[in-house]
Amino acid sequence: MTSVSTCKPKRCCEITVTRSSPPIRCRGLSVGYNEDPVLENLSFTVGNGSTVALVGRSGCGKTTLLKTLAGILDPLDGEATVLSTSLPQSPSPGELGYIPQSLGLVMHETVLTNVLHGRLSDLGRMRSLLGRFPADAKTDAREALERVGLDGYEQSRVKELSGGQRRRVAIARAFVQEPRVLLADEMLSELDGETAQSIVDCLITLQQETGMSVVIVEHNLEMAKDISDTVLRLGAGGIEDRIESESACEPVPRQSHE
Amino acid sequence: LGNDDGSEGQGNDDDYGNPDVSDEFVFAIEARDDPADIERDWEPLAEWIESETGVPTSIDTVPDDGAAIGALATGQAHASYLSGGPSWVGWNEHGFETLAVEADEDGQPYYVAAAYTRSDTGIETMRDAEGVDSAHTGDLTGAGMLVPTAYLAEEGLVEFDDDDDVTAIHEAVEEYFGNPVVGGGYVGALQALSEEQADIAFGRATTPEEYCGGDDAEEWCLDLDEYEIVEEFTQVPSHPVLASLEATDAEKELLEEALLALNDDPDGQEILEDVFDVHELQEATSEEHLGPYGELISNLPGIEDHLIE
């Protein structure tokens, strides 16, 4: 519970970007369940290394949009490209990270196991069957747990954790993956201010290190503006409002990834 | 199947290593006429055959006739020991050869299937038994159900609704008798009669004497003179030992000799008594031993079309 501030974020500097095509581009996208659209005709892009925050009333369709981008729901209409793959196909394994609002953890498995699920794309068929993860995945998982302030909980069952701790397990699972696109659905709810801030710091550090693009759902408007380049306000079946955040910095194209 | 480890020279009439003889004999056995059969120790018989033939022998008890007959038909077992009914079905279907048959003190390789009653019931003929509660040794058993039903059919006392269906037998029984008690083997039927759950019982003519005649009579037994035979139906073949279709002549010969040798040896006599519970084993062919049984029950539905084939 002690050292949560392992991440030292350097804000607004040298966000390096490799590719020019935006990781997420939607044109006229409709999302919903069973042919009933919840949000219609959405058009937006998320640039390399940039962050888009989604805000909106409870039930307006934020999660539905994220689930569609994550490939869980099929788009009802329109076009959406995620990492150069056009939905409903999924991008290459491991490139997309997702922190679901409902967590999607295996409750009676240990914290470590759940975090390791973020690294399944490292595993070949044989290792998958045996369920054995390589040592470096384990080291990374432990490190990710440390970052979210859960060191010491590796062997606890998720169902024996507090709500905020569980959420941080889902966050660590996404972080350990170092995805190129991260979809974070209300990842800061159920967290106290301090913990939330340290998670945000980690997110920004990770973003700086890897040039990851982020779509985040966040109810706290201040926080949303603070971490994102663009805030999209959803409502009435579509995008109601678009706020470009001044505090954010321009992404700078980088040379190569080390 | 030959013997490949070449370990020879155990006995003098040792056929171990003969290419015509398997390196193991398997008996598939399903004999459940008597409660004593359940815990029966077959090992002495296996040892006997092994010592006589020089071929290791195992005796596997199989509680289903179908499995025993299937094993015999495909050569998974070399010989079987089943009661007359299933043996007849197996012979009829696959043409198994008979190696030896059981015989009683009088040298008869059959027993008499009969209906008997208590002397207080007043039943004198099978005609009187209509609507009376009956006791059968088991469902579709030879002496307990098939033979009496065949008799009733022959006498025109029952008719079958469905000529093509073995279950019509059961239905006919239900129809003719009052409340049939089915199961329990020979003893079960006798006990049901003795305890007045039934007024007529089917089995062997000797059943009352066998179970209630000696000193070890069951407590529910009535005095022997309180049992009366209603009808002696026919001779039913005793248990034969059948040979597999796949068995070679050499094997059949060996087994037959070993079995018949039981008669002439004090140890063998003991095995006959303890294991087979008979006086002696005789030579016979399937045709002689099982054939008449088929004639008797050939007018039963579902069985007839097998005879014609």
Partner: protein, 275 residues
């Protein structure tokens, strides 16, 4: 495509049924029950012989004939060996089939054949399996083990795929969206999530195989089922009672073991209301 069509029509059907569906269903079940009772003339059942019957059964079973104790224990051991191997093989082989048979995990052109396959295995009576394996590999315990293995696959495979279909979707969808292959989702999410059902059903199947030892008995006069069935045939209830008591104790042990094993995998299962 047709998948969507089906979902939509099912949805509109459901909207209609939403208010009336449950009561209608219960009425249907009830009417069918009354109808069947009528056809079978159950309402005319005569219970007058009951007291006599009980006396008879009591007399037949009591006092128990303890002499079969030894035979029963020996039989139990043999049965346990055979049931253990048969259940283990059966459960292991059933897993891949039942996963493929789950409609929430695989498309219909895979689930249907898998379900048919399992139904086929289930339909053959266990005694017929035994006959088949005696014919294929001969008399002896192997035939019993294989017979048990095969009907166990059909039996437990069905229970498994229905358990898989009832699982919480969230973890399955979450992990698969991270880029896990289907195999990985099955291995790391579906199986662990279903562990309560899997253990429960496996132990139940083991218990069933021990109890249902009649089929096991087919492989030689070994198993306890052989003795039970044998003595039942001859109405020797005083012996049957002793053998059943042995099975009863075994069942209790297996039950306790099942609970322990599930607690081991799932953690504490007690709730505030179990006090």
């Amino acid at each position: 495509m047709s998948n969507v069509d089906r979902t939509t029509s099912a949805a509109s059907f459901r909207t209609h049924l939403k208010t009336f569906g449950r009561p209608l269903l219960f009425i249907l079940v009830f009417v069918l029950a009354v109808w069947s009772i009528w056809i079978l003339e159950l309402h005319q059942t005569d219970f007058s012989g009951g007291a006599d019957g009980l006396t008879f059964l009591y007399g037949a079973a009591i006092p128990p004939e303890m002499s079969v104790l030894e035979v029963g224990l020996r039989g139990l051991l043999e049965t346990l060996y055979i049931a253990y191997v048969g259940t283990l093989f059966g459960v292991l082989l059933s897993l891949p089939v039942s996963l493929v048979a789950s409609r929430n995990l695989f498309p219909w052109y895979l689930t249907l054949p898998a379900r048919w396959f399992l139904a086929m295995l289930r339909v053959l009576p266990s005694i017929l399996w035994a006959v088949i394996f005696v014919i294929l590999i001969g008399t002896g315990p192997a035939a019993g083990v294989f017979a048990i293995t095969l009907y166990t696959i059909g039996f437990i495979g069905k229970l498994e795929y229905e358990a898989f279909e009832g699982l919480d979707n969230e973890p399955i969808e979450a992990v698969s969206s991270l880029g896990a292959t289907r195999l990985q989702v099955l291995r790391f999410v579906v199986l662990p999530q279903a562990i309560n059902s899997l253990i429960s059903q496996t132990m139940f199947m083991f218990e069933y195989n021990v109890r249902h030892a009649a089929a096991i008995g087919i492989v030689g006069a070994g198993g306890i089922g052989y003795y039970i069935m044998g003595y039942l045939d001859f109405l020797q209830y005083d012996r049957v009672v002793v053998l059943l008591a042995i099975v009863f104790l075994t069942v209790l042990v297996i039950d306790e073991f099942s609970y322990r094993l599930r607690s081991f995998f799932l953690g504490d299962m007690s709730t505030s209301i179990s006090k």
